[in-house]
């Protein structure tokens, strides 16, 4: 397990992706700082609040990252789990060692989830730091109009990072499953990213509203429910249940495929 994490986080690619994610809040903050004179009332939610409170940089950055950048990086990591080893020809050596295939799969999944957590935490941390550097930091205004102190705001930021990480469970499981299907990591990565985009496109079609609660991306932006007073926990619960259901289905599918597969490379 430790070695798997070490391999993941020693890769230059992982660092580049985390760095790219950290750049997004920096870009947002700098852009708002430069153009702070004109507030047009457009753009993503919260973006106007940045100039009053730097902590909102983290939220804006998350809102921007969730639809594309996070699924993209998670797709790269999750899609690479098994097929990457197969492509490098290291998978059969891994299987020679006295470790069960289920355990190997589990370790790979946990490592991918560790990356999800690292990615969200990096975005939030970078956002808070750059926000604190460029803008005043003070009591945070919640969506309900109430204000909370910085300490509680930090707590909620952590909760949001947790929510987003949980939200990525389903996508990671899907990526893991696809990764067991092929020996070509790029194909698995692309398929995972495409699935996340298809899910979001389906989510935006009002004609398919019956399907929406079952899409793993449906609750992604509902992290804002943690910014209400009192906190609306129901979306957190529903989201977790949904992600666990995806994890159960695709995790076991991945096991079925991986355990019954003839590993030749």
């Amino acid at each position: 397990m430790g070695s798997e994490l070490a391999v993941l986080f020693r890769r230059r690619r992982t660092w580049v992706m985390l760095l790219a994610l950290a750049l997004i809040p920096v870009l947002v903050a700098v852009a708002v700082r430069i153009s702070s004179a004109g507030s047009s009332g457009r753009g993503p939610a919260f973006i106007e609040q940045i100039s009053q409170n730097g902590l909102f940089v983290a939220l804006v950055a998350l809102t921007i990252c969730i639809p594309l950048f996070l699924p993209l990086t998670v797709g790269v990591v999750a899609g690479d789990t098994i097929s990457g080893e197969a492509n490098l020809g290291t998978l059969r050596y891994l299987l020679v060692s006295p470790v069960g295939r289920a355990r190997l799969l589990l370790v790979k999944f946990v490592a991918a989830m560790a990356f999800c957590l690292a990615a969200t935490v990096v975005i939030v941390l970078a956002g808070v730091l750059i926000g604190a550097a460029l803008f005043p930091v003070g009591p945070v205004t919640l969506l309900s109009g109430d204000t909370i102190g910085s300490g509680e705001a930090a707590l909620r930021a952590l909760l949001i990072a947790g929510y987003v990480t949980v939200s990525l469970l389903g996508l990671t499981a899907i990526g893991l499953f696809i990764s067991t299907l092929t020996d070509i990591p790029v194909g698995a990565m692309a398929a995972t990213v495409v699935i996340s985009i298809v899910s979001q496109v389906l989510d935006s079609l009002p004609q398919l509203s019956a399907l929406h609660p079952w899409l793993f991306s449906h609750y992604w932006l509902d992290f804002a429910d943690l910014l209400r007073q009192p906190i609306e926990w129901s979306s957190f619960g529903t989201n977790t249940l949904l992600q666990l259901a995806y994890l159960a289905v695709f995790g076991t599918l991945a096991y079925g495929r991986f355990a019954s597969k003839d590993v030749l490379s």
Partner: protein
């Protein structure tokens, strides 16, 4: 070979379990328990005798009025849509008041399309009553906070707040554009309107928000109204209306539904009702006169205008028509590009047609609204 197939067993089991749970959970939620039989009068008495003064809950409102869905699905779409609508109106008319009204009307219209979730906190035990409604939009929130006599409307998307201090005795219900009516308020309205022109019956037992409830069905006797039936689910224990569904005449699915999805009968915390506008919010002070109560249809856009000229009621019961004299509101309504898209030009004016309610704006600025056919409205306008 058989060992290979065994590896797929977990996948099959997980699939079956998830699918089973997905099917079984809504089914068990819909299961009803046997309640003692009650006559419509007994259920009405149960509603009238309801002593619930404080509760909190989540209300989900779904409207399918045949209006096109406004672009409010993602982000602060509703906020920016109304803002741009207001901006262009003020360009056209140069009047801030009508622009504000148009923005308010489009905000109210937004609430009348699609699905909205709101959290409601009511505490009627102190003074003149406290109320807080939070309309939960995606990444935004619209709040109505009423503490005693003071009323706050807050919109997190636009970062605006309206502070209203009523000059007359305040109504129990704030009439802000952000209002999402709770099942309780709606039920009172419909029961008031019912009178002798309505057949009242009790349908089968239903379960709403995990509580067993009687289903009170109001059917208008008049054939000239657009409303086919109103179904009110009344909590069997407390008499609190838990759900209101309005079905258009000839339709099978409700066109409008407002329902508690969760309900807590304990008194909500007092600090929920105190509101201080956060820094950076544009606050508008407003002295509100006693709101002009447009009864009959709770879903009227005109309902939200507190400073409207005095309305005139014609007709009675379900097929009554409300007439608003010419004023700045109706001109703002017709000049707003958003509303212009929703209305269709007819001879002598513009018609906003929904499955439950028709609104006719005559060319001279008078506005007619009612749950009747468009022809009846035009006839009323011609008189």
């Amino acid at each position: 070979m058989s060992t290979v197939w065994k590896r797929w067993i977990p996948a099959a089991v997980a699939g079956v379990v998830v699918a089973g749970a997905a099917v079984a959970v809504p089914l068990s939620a819909g299961a009803t328990s046997g309640l003692p039989e009650k006559s419509p009068q007994e259920v009405l008495a149960l509603v009238a005798g309801s002593t619930v003064t404080a509760f909190s809950g989540t209300v989900e409102q779904t409207s399918d009025l045949g209006l096109p869905t406004l672009p409010s699905g993602t982000g602060s779409g509703s906020g920016s849509a109304s803002t741009s609508g207001a901006a262009s109106t003020s360009d056209a008319s140069g009047s801030d008041g009508s622009a504000g009204t148009a923005a308010a009307a489009s905000s109210a219209l937004d609430l009348l399309t699609g699905t909205h979730t709101a959290r409601v906190y009511v505490d009627g035990t102190t003074g003149s009553g406290n109320l807080r409604v939070q309309v939960l939009d995606r990444l935004a929130e619209r709040d109505v906070i009423k503490q005693g006599d003071t009323l706050w409307l807050y919109d997190s998307g636009k970062q605006t707040a309206v502070h209203a201090t009523p000059t007359a005795t305040p109504d129990a219900v704030p009439t802000g554009p952000e209002q999402t009516a709770t099942p309780q308020q709606l039920a009172e309205k419909f029961l008031e309107a019912a009178g002798s022109t309505t057949d009242v019956s009790v349908g089968g037992d239903v379960t709403v928000a995990g509580r067993s409830a009687y289903d009170l069905v109001l059917t208008p006797q008049s054939g000239s109204t657009l409303i086919g039936a109103v179904s009110i689910a009344v909590d069997s224990e407390t008499g609190l209306p838990l759900r209101v569904e309005v079905t258009a005449a000839g339709a099978s699915n409700p066109a409008f539904s407002s329902s508690f999805t969760s309900l807590d009968l304990s008194t909500p915390s007092a600090d929920l009702f105190s509101f201080t506008p956060p820094a950076g919010t544009t606050v508008t002070e407003k002295a509100v006169e006693k709101p002009s109560a447009a009864s009959g249809g709770a879903t009227e856009p005109s309902h939200s205008e507190s400073d409207a000229p005095k309305p005139v009621m014609t007709g009675s019961g379900w097929s009554s028509i409300v007439e608003l004299p010419a004023g700045s509101e109706s001109s703002a309504l017709t000049s707003s590009p958003l509303l212009a898209q929703l209305t269709t030009p007819v001879s002598g004016g513009h018609l906003l047609s929904t499955t439950l309610l028709n609104v006719f704006v005559a060319d001279d600025g008078r506005m007619f609204a009612g749950s009747v056919s468009a022809e009846a409205l035009e006839a009323a306008a011609a008189q």
